[in-house]
């Protein structure tokens, strides 16, 4: 970079500069049960998000006694017109889908009437302090295998994987990946979910299939809205 502005944090990493747009929060709010007897939740954005890429949806289930589940996540809409998202809990034995969300894209928007705004050399808006940058907290390239259990239906196996967490306040997980099933030992694939076991103090991913491989490489990304 030969000109502009660069902000380097105490760890030596570039936090903001006039080269690249950051993951910026477009909408933040709460999600709640809307359908399927309280098991499913559809959230509509205040206005459609107009990027080609689907927005990244980050979710933070409400802390409960027991387990909250993020599964069957789907971003509704189409390129240039993303209207909202859907998330479902697992069953009546897990908490209903309640929590906080934010939707973010790799672009900024004119929002603030005062403060700081950064453009790149081609006059693209990179940062506007009214369009908040999401703050990275941690990432995992994979999860640790925990166990494989034959379910009571006698045909499906559930594999469970864990990552360490203490469920820090205000930390969200990237949810877009917890939707489409993954490749399994049969054509049907394996269903996928994310369990927040607040009681056991463990963050889990699980897969369910009749032929369920142990290999599991789904990345996990965590972020928050405040410094």
């Amino acid at each position: 970079m030969s000109f502009g502005l660069q902000f380097i944090n105490a760890g030596g990493a570039v936090t903001l500069d006039s080269e690249f747009s950051r993951l910026s929060v477009i909408y933040a709010g709460a999600y709640a049960p809307t359908e399927e007897s309280g098991l499913g939740s559809t959230t509509t954005f205040p206005a459609p998000i107009t990027t080609q890429e689907p927005p990244l949806v980050f979710l933070r289930p409400t802390t409960v006694v027991g387990v909250a589940v993020i599964s069957l996540v789907r971003v509704n809409g189409s390129p240039g017109n993303w209207t909202g998202f859907y998330v479902r809990t697992e069953s009546v034995n897990t908490a209903q889908p309640n929590g906080k969300y934010f939707a973010a894209v790799f672009a900024s928007k004119l929002a603030a009437t005062f403060g700081l705004r950064i453009w790149d050399g081609s006059a693209n808006l990179l940062f506007d302090n009214g369009s908040q940058a999401a703050v990275f907290t941690r990432a995992y390239q994979n999860w640790t295998f925990k166990n494989s259990v034959l379910l009571s239906d006698g045909v499906n196996y559930r594999n469970t994987y864990a990552v360490p967490t203490s469920f820090p306040d205000g930390e969200y997980i990237l949810a877009n990946t917890f939707g489409m099933p993954m490749v399994a030992g049969n054509v049907m694939g394996r269903q996928l979910g994310n369990r927040w076991d607040f009681t056991a103090g463990e963050m889990q991913a699980y897969t369910t299939a009749t032929s369920n491989p142990r290999a599991f490489y789904l990345p996990a990304l965590f972020a928050k809205l405040t410094a």
Binding site: G130, A133, G185, P219
Partner: protein, 109 residues
């Protein structure tokens, strides 16, 4: 704070300070199922400078899909990302049947 920059939101909450890491996209591309050269194979995308400790690669759905669609798999290596249409480390012969997905490589350090 002895140096650096802090940004507060209109609600008074501190959004970024000298300890914050943000995320930027270093590659965003649609990966087509038709681009896999053989039945079980991968496509490689060059991204200079990435390692497993400074970046993450995710594939996200971009279309409506059926309940039996299966997603691609990613592997982040030094300076490149592989997108697989099968489950590496497993002897099964099945392949992902998603038509296309968007690969995002995100740098956080």
């Amino acid at each position: 704070m002895s140096f650096g920059m802090r940004i507060w939101g209109a609600d008074g909450a501190l959004q970024i300070d000298e300890t914050s890491f943000t995320m930027r996209v270093v590659l965003s591309v649609v990966v087509l199922n038709s681009g896999f050269p053989t039945r079980q194979s991968y496509q490689t995308f060059s991204v200079p400078g990435i390692t497993t400790s400074n970046a993450i690669a995710v594939v996200i759905p971009i279309d409506a899909y059926t309940s039996t669609a299966t997603q691609f798999e990613t592997e982040l290596l030094s300076d490149s990302v592989r997108v697989y249409n099968y489950l590496r480390g497993y002897a099964g012969t099945n392949i992902s049947n998603a038509t296309s997905m968007r690969l995002l490589v995100i740098r956080f350090q």
